[in-house]
């Protein structure tokens, strides 16, 4: 996670010209997969990710609790989505992402309203440019809502990290490769509760506080983009 590439110039700007607390542009569109119950397409910087949701009867397994819905997110990368062609099929990284995204969504969906139901969330990363797990989760949340699944809130996520030793928002690919830390986080915006959080790298307590307050701020904007994408389609449940 270290390198000799200078990530922040003398004017304090990043390689792509952004300020330390500036996000890349985000666009979200719903209803993009006709066969699915819900879907969303997100462009976040150069990331392009499509998510489709199917709500179906759960196939019972002896170990499973059937009195609430099961959420299964599957994060997958297209062969052409990354620098070096990716072979098809899951790997350890994609399996971990599938797990944390499933858990974050489960924290937002009112599972007990959907007994014996399985919510399949298929995530396809078409173009990857740092921050795909958070972009995927942010879009998944919209796609789940688009499918009419009752939710306590829309999960919204963001990433911070360290570049040239400085805390910055929404890491670029270079910052991800050559920076000193990566901090993806997702919350339920109505309560501010954290449903996804990972760190890897080198982060002091102070840096953690800086990063989270930057992200909390940014997530307000992202949250608005989500809601605009859903427009009238989504009405928050009076839950919890």
């Amino acid at each position: 996670m270290e390198g000799n590439i200078k990530l922040i110039n003398d004017d304090g700007l990043r390689l792509d010209g952004r300020a330390f607390n500036e996000m890349r542009p985000i666009k979200i569109q719903t209803g993009v997969i006709e066969k699915a119950d819900g879907s969303a397409f997100i462009e976040w910087g150069a990331n392009k990710i499509i998510v489709a949701v199917y709500v179906r009867e759960a196939y019972p397994k002896h170990t499973q609790n059937m009195d609430r819905a099961i959420v299964k997110a599957r994060y997958n990368m297209a062969g052409f989505s990354v620098e070096e062609r990716k072979r098809p099929g899951p790997d350890r990284r994609t399996m971990e992402i599938s797990k944390v995204v499933s858990e974050a969504l489960s924290s937002a969906i009112i599972l007990e309203k959907l007994p014996r139901v399985e919510i399949d969330v298929f995530i396809e990363v078409l173009e990857a440019d740092a921050g795909t797990r958070i972009a995927s989760l942010t879009a998944s949340s919209v796609a789940v809502a688009d499918a009419g699944v009752p939710m306590r809130d829309l999960v919204v996520g963001c990433t911070a990290g360290k570049a040239d030793g400085r805390v910055v928002l929404d890491l670029s690919k270079d910052e991800d490769n050559y920076g000193q830390a990566d901090i993806p986080m997702a919350i339920l915006p109505r309560t501010g509760k954290v449903v996804l959080l990972q760190i890897d790298g080198d982060v002091s307590e102070e840096e953690f506080d800086q990063a989270t307050s930057m992200m909390m701020n940014a997530m307000k904007d992202i949250s608005k983009i989500q809601r605009d994408a859903l427009m009238s389609k989504y009405s928050i449940e009076d839950g919890e």
């Binding site: 006709e34 150069a46 489709a52 997958n76 297209a78 062969g79 052409f80 989505s81 070096e84 173009e127």
Partner: protein, 260 residues
Amino acid sequence: MPMDSNAVISEIKKGFILDSIKKGKRIDGRSLTDFREIKITENFIPKACGSAMVELGKTKVVAGIKIEEGTPFPDSPESGVMALNIELLPMAFPTFESGPPSEQAIEYSRVVDRGIRESNVIDTSKLVIEPGEKVWMVYIDIDVLNYDGNIIDACTLAAVSALKNAIVPASKYGGEDFKLPVNALPVSVTMAKIGDELVCDPDLEEEQVSNGRITVTMAEDNHIHAMQKGDVGEFSLDEIRKAIKTSSDIGSKIREKYLR
């Protein structure tokens, strides 16, 4: 909820489709040889070496190309490598599953691959860096995002469109980038046999009521470079000859309109 893409649809709907086609018209208003609306977005994935999204009615696929250095196969040391793979993503249809490719996905991949390979779209002999040692590997990956019938034609269009705009990233390896030379623009035309008629570019419902599928892929030379009879069903030789003519006619039009 789960519905099989091969399942028979309701008898009423089926009768309606058949009756309509008997009268020479399809329920969405198309003639028997009409394709649905085609929309091609080239360079949809800028970070790939070449790419295209193709929408064929509601069928939606994305082709992306990666070109990397690799070693040639021992039995063809003076030839680059082309590999094409179609993923029927589980998001594309309720009954599609995660995991290794189904027989269906593999058949589609191989038919599309043959149409491109046998038309010599790519001249692999020009993709040699160091004979026997280093060649360019051209990976064509195609994601099927939404399945509403006729994957083969959508994928052939997407692959050819992506190849047309592909750049060989030689600068990554110390050389100079160059456009991937493309020698032919094959078009596949797939027809379903419904009742006694052949209908072009069947949508999902038409596939479900059909008795057999036939694909004919031709290039500018109007020669057959790939043909595939698929699914359970049978064709007379006359029907096959008609399919060849239709492919020649309709394929030329598609080539002129969408690939030039």
